[in-house]
């Protein structure tokens, strides 16, 4: 193994472009600078690596549009990273217990089943109070059973209902740190009593979202610098730059959507029964926000899954720009002495 080979791994810090064109020279120069014995110090090797990493962040000089595109790519990368972090964080949420057995245990003595709904993070059991059972008494005993099982519960509060008493209900909320539950026991004619459960946000969720955001910002910038150099050195520069710009434009809306969801999701509303995830922005339209009364943008934007379509089209366009940009690079190698 030559000295050159021994240090080849240090070149991994460099962009492919520099590694391919100047890899052997970088090592040779470091060895020459090390003096007659040709043994670079640890500091020399670290500097070589750090300079390589710094090169990865550099944009081609005198290309203002590349700077604009890189800033946009940075933001798009951050949004995709936050969505990925949110998706990973979703798996730290506790699954909601099956509504049937839970309602049987908590409300079983006073009511009969009516309907059930269940998803991973939400569940609901609608039941009917047995004849002669008072709504508040049913809520009180449900609360007592939950407290006996180790849940923390708010007091039962009777609220709502107009002069005729419709929708008047006795309610409480309970939680065990991982799952929240709400019981509403109605005084209406059908004597309904509902138990709804939902996952509470675990402490790991937001750190994962923000870690994803930071990694995404980093990845977005690095992808932009790599693509900018590829485009700058390509014979099909205009075509490649045009497709890349179109891709970024398509990605802007889904990315903005993720940021809207991020801002709306940071305050934890899971204690109030709202389980929301940042990455759900990508499964909606750019006009959708978690504040259901609010719609952003024109109506054509409200098509469901619009963000997924825009995201896939945008990523495909950026990949296409990278493929188009490959043309002509090899002939621009300064490594070829004949070309000089």
């Amino acid at each position: 193994m030559t000295a050159q080979d021994r240090h080849a791994s240090l070149l991994l810090a460099y962009p492919v472009r520099l590694r391919r064109r100047h890899g052997a020279e970088l090592i040779a120069t470091m060895l020459e600078m090390a003096g007659p014995d040709g043994r670079p110090t640890r500091t020399d090797r670290w500097r070589l690596v750090l300079d390589g990493l710094r090169e990865r962040f550099r944009l081609p000089p005198r290309r203002p549009l590349a700077v604009v595109a890189a800033v946009l790519a940075l933001l798009v990368g951050g949004a995709l990273g936050a969505a990925a972090g949110s998706w990973a964080g979703m798996w730290t949420f506790a699954e909601v217990p099956a509504p049937g057995p839970m309602a049987d245990r908590v409300l079983g003595a006073d009511s009969v089943p009516d309907s059930l709904t269940q998803s991973r993070f939400w569940s609901g059991s609608d039941r009917l109070l047995k004849p002669g059972v008072d709504a508040t008494a049913a809520a009180d005993s449900a609360r007592a059973r939950m407290v006996a099982d180790g849940w923390t519960a708010t007091p039962v509060v009777v609220s709502g209902g107009g002069a005729d008493g419709r929708y008047r209900r006795a309610s409480f909320q309970a939680g065990n740190g991982r799952v929240g539950v709400r019981v509403d026991s109605y005084y209406s004619e059908d004597h309904q009593i509902d138990l709804g459960g939902w996952s509470l946000r675990p402490p790991a969720y937001l750190p994962l979202v923000f870690a994803g955001l930071l990694l995404g910002l980093l990845g977005g910038w690095l992808a932009a610098t790599a693509l900018a150099y590829r485009i700058a050195g390509s014979f099909r520069r205009r075509a490649s730059a045009g497709v890349a710009a179109a891709g970024l434009a398509l990605l802007a809306l889904p990315a903005a959507s993720v940021y809207v969801f991020l801002v709306e999701t940071v305050p934890d509303r899971s204690g109030l029964g709202a389980v929301e995830f940042v990455h759900r922005a990508l499964g909606n339209s750019p006009a959708y926000t978690l504040n259901w009364w609010q719609t952003l943008g024109p109506s054509w934007l409200t098509a469901p899954y619009a963000n997924k379509v825009l995201l896939l089209a945008g990523l495909a366009a950026v990949a296409g720009a990278a493929i188009i940009g490959r043309a002509g690079r090899a002939t621009r190698e300064p490594a070829d002495p004949q070309a000089a």
């Binding site: 030559t2 050159q4 460099y14 472009r17 520099l18 064109r21 100047h22 052997a24 020279e25 970088l26 040779a28 120069t29 470091m30 060895l31 020459e32 600078m33 500097r47 070589l48 750090l50 300079d51 390589g52 710094r54 090169e55 550099r58 081609p60 000089p61 700058a232 050195g233 621009r332 300064p334 490594a335 070829d336 002495p337 070309a339 000089a340």
Partner: protein, 114 residues
């Protein structure tokens, strides 16, 4: 044009040099003020080659190591001359200003040195 770029072009103006030769020449030209490292040098050489300001002159293998010599292209020489002239004009302007300052600071004249 940044200072290291200017000095690299100046180093290559007299003769073709390989990487380590450029580093030594830049250190000498800047009287030890600018010390390039391999990583910073080849990033700069790559950009200068892309801009057509330098070209590869020849390659040699010395003791099993690659030595690639670079030289200034005609456009590189023109860019270096333009920048050198610019710096010369700026230096001359600065010297003129300093002379005026000295003149204004002579004893007995109003205003004094600012």
């Amino acid at each position: 044009m940044q200072e290291p770029t200017f000095l690299i072009l100046a180093a290559l103006a007299a003769q073709p040099l390989h990487g380590y030769g450029i580093i030594l020449s830049v250190t000498a030209l800047s009287e030890g003020e600018v010390r390039l490292r391999p990583g910073t040098l080849y990033g700069a050489l790559d950009r200068l080659a892309d801009e057509g300001l330098i070209v590869v002159d020849r390659e040699e293998a010395v003791g099993g190591r690659l030595r690639r010599y670079y030289r200034l292209s005609d456009s590189g020489a023109a860019a270096l001359a333009t920048q050198a002239e610019r710096l010369r004009l700026h230096a001359a302007a600065a010297e003129t200003q300093l002379r005026r300052r000295q003149d204004a600071g002579r004893p007995g004249l109003a205003g004094g040195a600012a």
